[in-house]
Amino acid sequence: MKKKWLVILFSLFVVCAVFVIPSMLPAAKKAPETIKVSAVLSLTGPFAPLATQAKNAYQIYFEKVNAEGGIFIKEFNKKIPVEIKILDDESDGLKTILQLEVANEWGAVANLGGIGCTSFEVGTVVAQKNKMVWLGPGCAGWTPHQRGINYMFSTFFKTPFISPLVYNMIMSMPEPRPKKVAIFEINQLDCEEAVEYWRKGAEKKGFEIVYHQKYALGTKDFSAMITGAKAAGAEILLGYPAPPEGPAMIKQMKELDYNPKLIYWIRAPEASSFGPALGPLADYVCVPVAWSNQLAISGNDQLNAQHQKVHGKLGDPITGSAYAAGQVLVDAVKRAGILDRKAIRDTIAKTDTETVAGRIHFSPQGWAVDRLVLVLQWKDGKQNIVYYNEAGQNYKKNIPKVDLKWQPPWSSR
């Protein structure tokens, strides 16, 4: 009898050991077929000439990553390819929200962002709500980084650092140097910030702001501003035009024969449409950028060759900054070793890596610290590097710099 019970107990133990206990243990997590990454970009609307550069960069970069088998994920001990879902927000904040919610439900581990205030200011807040990283070239705005949003990372430069750069660049030129400044201020956040630093910088470096005028996004007639700056004798023109406005302003300046010695604009001249829209009229316009296709930093050869092959030309300035965002994300996912949004956020925060656009590491607010900034000047359809900031000193050998040229009068061009 006792033996019989022992046999029954032993049999029960075996059944438990074989069937029940393993089913109670957590199952080994199955590796997903792809790592899902979204990119909500302004592919139509006023910011399209900037965001399409980011789209091209992401596609080129992830093709390269996937050609190498994908990203190694320690949790699954294997490489997993990246699947990128590109969504158009039509340069409209509401659409940014809609598309980020689509990306959220799709299961993206992170979102690679676009460029432009709307996409940045609105999109990063949605990313915070959904606890999904927003990483991208973003905009130069400083304020969005002061809101405690810790899922936002920008590989772009920020207004406190790029705005005073123009004065350093002018001061690096031999005398006689232009001193009288005009500011055309678009009614957008990052321009408002830039104006503050332009004003402070002018005061500090001995420049005189002789003309300052605000205008609304979407303005088409700039003649009153141009004649105002001309009458005030402004030799340096600072501005932050949106992509469609830049070419219109230049054409109207030519019509009104306004001849500043330096046009230093953020944003519009780095749009892919600026050079083709203006042809030789684009010459001498300067723009601060976070990347140039002339940079001889590791990885740029491949990027330039692939961009040339796919799009028939070298990449415009946002391309490299977006490509760098892709590099930062892949580096972080690899280091995280798991496909968890929070873990990826935490590893991005600790990023310190070399990219095609130089070294990237982030402040606790998510902006890139000691970011390499170059100033490009348009000449004969090319954008030449004419100046770089302090961070550029580390890449001196990699930056083919030429001399800045003052803009000659329209009549002699």
């Binding site: 399209a48 158009d88 200011e121 915070q128």
Partner: protein, 316 residues
């Protein structure tokens, strides 16, 4: 009367189904599209009252939406309870409408259209210039952000607007508005108080537009202040009302569903900006072949079905 009861049951059934939607799905994209569709129903119904029933083509509707949105947003974030903020937003929009309504209704036809359009543009430029920084929900609020209350509030707003339009269309006020729409001089001769009717229509319309703005402000995690004054709010409403069926109760509902969901579906499935082109072509086709909107097409289809059945019955 039985026909009315049938309509009430269908309407009630749809509301009950919509109220149960969050029980079937908690997908944030589906709830987001639903919120937006319901908010568009409210906004387009509000335009339908002044444009569709009273015949006053107000192209400055965004101004009232924007005033409602900004007032609600800033009061709410300043600590006022949300319901009070929402009503304040709608109230401010209405007061502003009455202030400008008296001089604006001295204008007729195209002058009224241009006048209202200019008004909204002025407000947009001023707000854009004075307030370039986005209003963002504090990080602590984001932690507890939920789409559910936004969804139910949007549903309540949409239902309220449909009920309002239903009662207006069957009231003496509604008849007066429609008389003005058809022939202002004839309406005056028939004893309709033109200015009073227009002002009441404008007040109701802008109150609902302000309410739509307030709900939108509650829903958005971040808003650029100038954005809520953007002319797209006016033109979207106009497009929705025309596509659905102007001066009808159901038209703006059908138009909103078509506008939001189809546009979103196209943007997810057509690459490279093609979705905008296709949507534009579809809109042109609707205007060309259904000039009175979907509602007219549905009526025509209903008639065809009825006529098609009769001979069969007779023959049988």
């Amino acid at each position: 009367m039985p026909k009315n009861w049938k309509s009430f049951f269908i309407f009630g059934g749809i509301i009950a189904l919509l109220a149960m939607l969050p029980l079937f799905t908690n997908r944030s994209d589906v709830l987001t599209w639903s919120c937006l569709t319901l908010q568009y129903i409210l906004l387009s119904q509000s335009w339908n009252i002044i444009g569709g029933y009273a015949g006053q083509v107000n192209l400055g509707h965004a101004a009232f939406f924007g005033l409602g949105a900004l007032t609600t947003r800033y009061l709410w974030l300043a600590g006022l309870p949300f319901p009070a903020s929402l009503l304040s937003g709608a109230f401010i929009a209405t007061v502003f409408a009455l202030l400008i309504g008296i001089p604006a209704f001295r204008l007729r036809g195209i002058y009224f259209v241009i006048g209202t359009l200019v008004l909204a543009e002025i407000l947009k430029v001023v707000i854009d210039t004075r307030f370039p920084v986005a209003s963002v929900l504090p990080v602590e609020t984001l932690l507890t952000y939920s789409l559910l209350p936004r969804y139910y509030l949007s549903l309540m707003g949409a239902v309220l607007s449909v009920i309002a339009v239903y009662f207006i269309s069957r009231s003496r006020l509604g008849l007066g508005m429609m008389a003005i729409r058809e022939d202002e001089d004839a309406a005056r001769t028939s004893g309709v108080n033109i200015l009073q009717n227009k002002l009441i229509a404008f007040a109701i319309s802008t109150f609902l537009a302000g309410l739509a703005g307030g709900i939108f402000a509650f829903y958005m995690v971040a808003i650029q202040p100038g954005y809520v004054f953007s002319p797209i709010w006016t033109f979207d409403s106009v497009v929705i009302v025309f596509v659905g069926g102007i001066g009808t109760l159901i038209g703006p509902i059908i138009g909103s569903v078509f506008f939001v969901l189809l546009k979103q579906w196209l943007s997810l499935h057509l690459p490279g900006g093609l979705h905008l082109a296709v949507f534009g072509v579809l809109f042109i086709l609707v205007v060309l072949y259904m000039p009175d909107g979907f509602i007219e097409a549905i009526r025509r289809y209903g008639k065809m079905v009825t006529l098609g059945r009769k001979p069969m019955v007779q023959g049988g």
